[in-house]
């Protein structure tokens, strides 16, 4: 097994300030970036704050930016870098920093609460649900999401424009709206909730300019843009930009 010494720059600090610190650290065969961060903790910086959990790409906790790209530390193998390269690890740059590599991801939990939940059909009890595989395929793809929030982090709508955070739910939660709207038994419309309209009006779908960074960074390989956001935009068009519907609603508003 071969090992070598790698150069790392790791952002350390908190909301008051901080910066990149240099480290030299041993790297062994088959290791991932998270292993190196752990070795730093065990040997050089016992109080280096980092969030992690399963270390197998299933929980989505260890999100960070490695050489400027949003990634999971546990799924970034050291072998993708050359031995000469200095590897820079920073916290997610779209969210407020807490300490070192840990950020405050509360934005995402706030947005999650704003999406109305699944509405069970009134006439079906537990055990009576019948759904065909082809009808659940689409929503199942979106439910692969591990909520690592890399898509939320990379999306320029909020990453580059803090003020958009109130109006824009972000790719993860627009995908959640799409998931529910495509759920074969969601009874939202029966309860008077039109997810196609609210996607645009309340969750800020219009801010998305489909530049696909969310899809690029998704560690689960979910086609967020092509399969969730664009179909959702098309569904919003059905409701809002069909000229006949639009004209009709204008006339009705005038007369009422």
């Amino acid at each position: 097994m071969s090992s070598y010494e790698a150069r790392f720059k790791v952002w350390r600090g908190d909301a008051e300030g901080g910066g990149l610190e240099d480290f030299k650290i041993e790297v062994n065969d088959g290791e991932v970036v998270l292993d190196i961060i752990h070795r730093l903790q065990a040997t050089q910086t016992p109080d280096l704050a980092v969030r992690w959990n399963c270390k197998a790409g299933k929980c989505g906790s260890c999100s960070a930016e490695i050489n400027g790209r949003p990634r999971l530390m546990c799924m970034t193998r050291m072998s993708v870098f050359s031995r000469e390269e200095t590897i820079t690890v920073t916290p997610l740059r779209a969210f407020p920093v807490v300490r070192d590599l840990v950020t405050d991801v509360g934005f995402n939990y706030t947005k999650a609460r704003q999406v109305p939940s699944f509405v069970p059909p009134a006439d079906l009890g537990p055990g009576e649900y019948r759904m065909m595989q082809e009808d659940v395929d689409r929503s199942q793809e979106f439910r692969k999401c591990i909520e690592c929030f890399l898509c939320q982090d990379t999306c320029h709508v909020v990453r580059d424009h803090e003020e958009n955070k109130t109006a824009f739910a972000g790719p993860r939660f627009l995908m959640r709206v799409a998931e529910l709207d495509m759920h074969p038994l969601d009874a939202a419309s029966e309860s008077g909730l039109d997810r196609k309209t609210t996607a645009q009006d309340e969750h800020g779908l219009g801010y998305c300019n489909i530049t696909k960074c969310c899809t690029e960074v998704c560690p689960e390989g979910i086609k967020i843009t092509d399969n969730a956001l664009i179909p959702l935009k098309e569904r919003a068009v059905d409701r809002k930009y069909d000229p006949l519907v639009w004209l009709g609603s204008k006339i009705r508003r005038r007369t009422s």
């Binding site: 952002w11 600090g13 909301a15 300030g17 901080g18 910066g19 990149l20 930016e65 050489n67 400027g68 790209r69 949003p70 390269e85 820079t88 920073t90 916290p91 740059r93 779209a94 969210f95 407020p96 920093v97 950020t103 065909m132 082809e134 009808d135 982090d153 990379t154 320029h156 709508v157 990453r159 580059d160 424009h161 803090e162 003020e163 958009n164 495509m182 074969p184 800020g204 219009g206 801010y207 998305c208 300019n209 489909i210 530049t211 696909k212 960074c213 690029e216 960074v217 092509d226 664009i230 179909p231 935009k233 098309e234 569904r235 919003a236 068009v237 059905d238 809002k240 930009y241």
Partner: protein
């Protein structure tokens, strides 16, 4: 807040004070600029070429071939094409190049296309230039306001694009004649047209709006097996939408250029049979 910033635009982006203090707009070490630069270059080249050809108003017909830029020809000042796509609904008052009348439709289709939007937002507007690279704009409202809210009319351009593709198919059929309008012949141009029309159709049908209309809008695929099959098929094409967008863009320009070469006499269309 420090002096010199604009307090009315709370747009610190990655430099917002609550976020990790890193001055650099990005820390990417790869050649992230390559893709937007190449995209912008490619699009610019097409714009320059197509503007020249659209305004030129010459060398667009060499029997049996009509340039896809000029088909259908909707004004009286069009060159007469026997059995060709002449359709003089604009009459005699139109004095400009007849290409301008029809190019609006494919142009609008491509301009509002979900792939091209990504391409030019990134390549021309730098919004964003690449993933996790800070964009230079202070303010961003996306497609929520005029004019970009008009992107939502993509599907109507899709309908128009179907018609245009139908006419180009007709032109391709006409290309199975020789220069004396005899049927059952083929030249190199016919092949060029064939490749072009296949790519045009593939691009048009791979459109996200098309995917929505044929089946994506349904809640229960299981109740519409035929539309489900169509949706799956369009989905497969749709996964290659970017590739088809570029391939058809190049092929349509090449088809036009081929007609130009033949019509201007610079090149003689080799007949196969």
């Amino acid at each position: 807040m420090a002096t010199g910033t604009e307090p009315e635009l709370n747009s610190g982006g990655v430099r917002t004070p609550t976020r990790a203090a890193i001055a650099a707009p990005h820390l990417r070490t790869d050649r992230w600029w390559l893709q937007p630069a190449a995209t912008a270059g490619g699009l610019l080249a097409f714009i320059v070429y197509s503007t020249w050809r659209a305004f030129a108003n010459t060398d667009y017909y060499a029997a049996p071939y009509v340039s896809p830029f000029y088909s259908p020809c909707l004004a009286e000042n069009c060159e007469p094409m026997r059995a060709g796509p002449n359709w003089e609904i604009f009459g005699g008052w139109w004095g400009l190049s007849p290409a301008l009348l029809i190019l609006i439709f494919p142009l609008g289709f491509r301009l509002t296309c979900y792939y091209y939007r990504k391409a030019y937002y990134r390549g021309f507007w730098a919004s964003p230039p690449a993933c996790a690279v800070a964009e230079p704009h202070k303010k961003y409202t996306g497609e929520t306001r005029f004019p970009l809210i008009l992107q939502n009319i993509h599907r109507y351009f899709f309908y128009a694009a179907i018609l245009v593709a139908g006419i180009l198919t007709y032109d391709t059929v006409l290309a199975f004649r020789d220069e004396h309008y005899e049927w059952g012949h083929m030249g190199l141009g016919t092949l060029v047209f064939l490749v072009n029309i296949v790519l045009i159709w593939a691009y048009t049908l791979s459109c996200h709006s098309c995917r929505h209309i044929v089946g994506g809008q349904l809640k229960h695929f299981s109740k519409h097996p035929v539309r489900y099959r169509m949706w799956q098929w369009v989905g497969k094409l749709n996964a290659r939408h970017m590739l088809l967008a570029w391939a058809s863009l190049v092929s349509v320009a090449l088809a036009d250029f081929y007609v130009y070469l033949v019509a201007s006499g610079a090149f003689d269309d080799p007949r196969l049979f």
